[in-house]
């Protein structure tokens, strides 16, 4: 009964490949996010979806495309993987951001992506 689950936990792939990371939350939250954590542990937001609508789209290459089939799922598809994409990618969710609970981010356990 994990709150925010993402798969796979580890992803090792060759440069130029296309890969997807899946995320699901069972908290009933309205907002989901993708964060990238680089080798120096710096956490940076990539995308934010609220009720399947894109809210935040930070400066991220077009090769990254989020897809939200419903408000419990937010998948990340990456085309033409590059060496610099190697990082840990975290999915997160929060309740409707207008409320008190909106400020609590619940993170998944991360996907370690290694591009060779």
């Amino acid at each position: 009964d994990t709150a925010v689950s993402q798969t796979p936990k580890y992803l090792v792939t060759q440069m130029g490949n296309d890969k997807s990371i899946k995320c699901e939350q069972n908290l009933g939250h309205d907002t989901m996010y993708w964060y990238k954590q680089d080798s120096k542990k710096f956490l940076k937001i990539m995308f934010s979806y609220n009720n399947k609508e894109l809210i935040i789209n930070e400066t991220v290459p077009n090769r990254f495309s989020p897809k939200s089939p419903d408000k419990a799922h937010l998948n990340l598809h990456i085309n033409s993987l590059e060496l610099g994409d190697s990082a840990v990618y975290f999915c997160a969710s929060s309740q409707d951001f207008t409320g008190e609970e909106g400020e609590k981010l619940f993170f998944g356990s991360g996907t370690q992506l290694s591009v060779l």
């Binding site: 935040i56 609590k104 981010l105 998944g108 356990s109």
Partner: protein
């Protein structure tokens, strides 16, 4: 303006000591300041948070001190334990609660 600065980058404390991590921000629109704790191989988890209308918040051994005029806030861990060894992130968000901005993190090691 969107940055949150955090120091030190790493911290080593003896068991039973006090760990102090400092953060500073510029954006006056920020009005919620959480701290997240991350263990190796796990996602960050909310530890404690504060709003700028109070100067201090305490939960168990963890205390946030907030200085609104200086735009600074800090995390104090009293009686630090080896189990507290983790990376700590301060963060800030404006009142729409959407765009969390994280500090660069502090790696805390508590020696037994």
């Amino acid at each position: 303006q969107q940055q949150v600065k955090q120091s030190p980058q790493s911290l080593i404390v003896q068991k039973g000591g006090i760990s102090i991590i400092n953060c500073a921000y510029e954006n006056t629109a920020f009005d919620y300041f959480p701290w997240y704790q991350q263990f190796p191989g796990k996602g960050p988890a909310l530890l404690i948070a504060i709003r700028p209308d109070v100067s201090e918040k305490k939960e168990g051994r963890f205390t946030i001190s907030f200085n609104k005029s200086a735009k600074q806030f800090s995390l104090h861990i009293m009686d630090s334990q080896p189990g507290d060894s983790a990376t700590y992130f301060c963060a800030a968000t404006p009142n729409d609660g959407q765009n969390f901005v994280f500090g660069p993190g502090t790696r805390l090691s508590v020696l037994p």
